[in-house]
Amino acid sequence: MYITVRGTPKGEPNGSVRENETGRSGKARIAPAVIGLGVVSLLTDISSESVAAILPLYITVVVGLGPLAFGFIDGIYQGISAVVRMAGGRWADRSDRPKWVAFAGYAISAVSRFGLLIATGFWAITSVVAIDRVGKGLRTGPRDALIATASEPEHLGRNFGVHRAMDTAGALIGPLMAFAILAMFPVGLSGYQTIFVFSCAFAVMGVAVLGLAVPDLRRNPKSNNGSGDQPGKAVVQPRWSDLARPALRRLMIAAGALSLVTIGDGFIYLALQDGDGVPPAYFPLLFVGTNFAYLVLAIPMGKLADRIGRARVFVAGYVLLLGCYAIAGLHLAGLVGLIAVLLMLGAFYAATDGVLAALASRLVPEASRASGISAAQTVVALARFGASIGFGLLWQFAGLSTALLVMSLGLVAAIPLAGWLLHVRTTRPQDETADAGQVPAP
């Protein structure tokens, strides 16, 4: 349990659900819905990451597909997510059943795991991967909206931190489980199939926890009475114009600008490798190190965001990223530099991923919460995709140092811009949490 000493919370903005009906508990405790969704993500990540860890080996060594097949599967991964993500957010808001939209997403991914048990050819595996992506795209926005709905505004950052920490724990356990299973089979035979079976089992448990143990939080109409904000306005429908509100637009522009100069950790590891000769075999360990730092720092960063302002922590995360660029670009690595980069990358994710959802959830009316979160996340995903392509081009034509320098300069420009857009200097945490409450009811 995480106990924070805080003053009385500000008024409930915008008809949040009431604790006695939804199981949301006192201010210092973490809402059961958040823990529940954390467990769902933990189980689901064990399921998906155990497969993701061995899928390359499985596809090349066992199924025997070549390089081009991989490129094709990868393209599918990229494309589907963005479209489905927006649709998932919108669907959750319109239906006011975010839990069941998220449930559909988790269930679709679970079904795709069963597909792996029988998929043998190229098309079968491609379909399985595509279906999994549809499920993932669908569920993210509604799930984060549920976390926001279940949280008191002043604990949003911490609650997203709790969720992301559990999520990341699953991402760490999954590959360990997969390799442990593989190691227990004599020559690796049928080890893969067993991993798929375990993956199915964890996926089913994740879906079951969501369906049976996570409260069905809705904004209208029964949960809305007495929240004080909009008496008499029982049913509020989402509108597209909700997504065009200045505050959300500023967040999307800020996050988009920052993401356009954000290079993936894979690239940062490659840059480290280039300068310092980190052996390629340790590549996966770098991901593990970053994930571990993320896991450990997610909750403290979320709490810090609640205390000093989410926008501040969000922007500060990119300052840490800039530090990573500097270490990688100036070849300061060495073991200390390497550990510093992994810590800072983990802290960067802890300061930005959940915090972005926390920020976005307060900038739209509750009726458009899932759409708002989805929109912000989609902007980030697309901008990052663009950044990785741009960085790859730069690296190729101008060399690694120049590419890193360009991205660093971009970040140096984007950080103050984002700070200005998000009113980092003037906005207090209370203002952030009250933002959505202040906008006039639609």
Partner: protein, 341 residues
């Protein structure tokens, strides 16, 4: 938690069933794997490696479901289904010439370490270095002085499933010439500069000239390219041709082709006459995803997975002129390399 009793019971039942089911499958799969291995008809083995190496032979990777699985193996060219010598080295991909061989390794674990081990003329390991990414193809120049490797590399892009290939040419003994991605490549008359360009499957004509596959997802094409190591250039010969393999007489190139179908999934083997540009599709109708090896000037070899099996495969042969029917050449084998004296 506000969870009703029936729901709680349902949740517990589902979780218990899921865990028990997975555990039961684990036990079943493990015992049947062990049973399979103990009851597997052991492949006939010989300990006389020297005798096999003294005659024309095939070096390959064992795919027999016993303790020889994925071991470097040798069999006589005169009796490919007969007694095989099984060596200690465990390989994902092998190649060999009279002068020596190469074994690409994957040391599985939480961190899978990939490597390349060079082998001398007796197939004893001489030197090992690390390799970035999981092994896909390996070839050597006819005199054994050059080695090319293709591996899949992760982590180049945002999505953790992103793959690119890394094709490196090195000299026997350890000097790395470099990744052929750094060569100047011209396809269909234009420089190929797309970020997502990939190269794989080198086959050496001699110590300088080679053929390989170039690809770009953006353009949506693959090309057969002819390259020069000294000139650090590659130029396209034709499209829709992957994993080339030059015939011993140097007049033809065999490769896998998708016949213009943009989505990968089904490959046929085709042979291109370099003088006339005529392409002949071979008689194998199943999809082949392998870099073929020439048995002689009129026959090619390739590995095919057995239906419904994880990891079991055989090396097949089919005439290189489009006639005939495929036949098993070496059972329980992959990655063949024909070595003639």
């Amino acid at each position: 938690m506000t969870i009703t009793r029936p729901k709680l019971i349902a949740l517990i039942v589902i979780c218990v069933l899921a865990v028990a089911g997975a555990a039961a499958y684990f036990g079943y799969a493990r015992s049947s794997a062990e049973e399979q291995i103990s009851s597997a008809p052991a492949v006939a083995q010989t300990s006389d490696l020297a005798a096999l190496l003294a005659q024309d032979h095939v070096v390959f990777r064992s795919a027999a479901l016993d303790d020889t699985y994925s071991k470097l193996s040798v069999v006589s060219l005169a009796d490919p289904g007969g007694q095989r010598a099984v060596l200690d080295a465990t390989c994902e991909r092998v190649y060999a010439t009279q002068a020596g061989g190469v074994c690409l390794t994957a040391d599985r674990g939480i961190v899978t370490a990939y490597g390349i081990t060079e082998l001398d003329a007796n197939l004893s390991p001489t030197a090992s270095t690390q390799l970035a990414g999981s092994p896909s193809r390996a070839r050597m120049s006819p005199d054994g002085s050059l080695i090319s490797t293709t591996t899949f590399v992760t982590g180049h892009a945002y999505s953790d499933t992103s793959f690119s290939t890394d094709t490196v040419i090195r000299r026997t003994g350890g000097d790395v010439i470099g990744s052929i991605e750094g060569f100047d490549t011209t396809v269909d008359g234009h420089p190929l500069t797309e970020v997502d360009r990939n190269f794989w499957g080198v086959t050496f004509v001699d110590d300088d000239t080679f053929y390989a596959t170039a690809a770009s997802n953006t353009i949506g094409k693959t090309w057969l390219v002819k390259g020069s190591i000294s000139g650090r250039t590659m130029t396209s010969v034709r499209t829709d041709a992957e994993c080339p393999s030059i015939a011993p007489d140097g007049t033809r190139v065999a490769y896998k082709t998708r016949h213009g179908n943009p989505a990968p999934g089904h490959w046929n083997i085709a042979v291109l006459d370099l003088a006339t540009g005529r392409e002949t599709v071979l008689a194998e109708t199943r999809s082949v995803d392998d870099q073929v090896e020439w048995l002689d000037d009129s026959t090619v070899l390739y590995a095919l997975a057995r239906d419904g099996s994880e990891g079991q495969s055989d090396v097949w042969r089919v005439p290189a002129d489009g006639s005939g029917t495929p036949a098993v050449f070496i059972p329980n084998a992959t990655s063949p390399a024909v070595v003639r004296h």
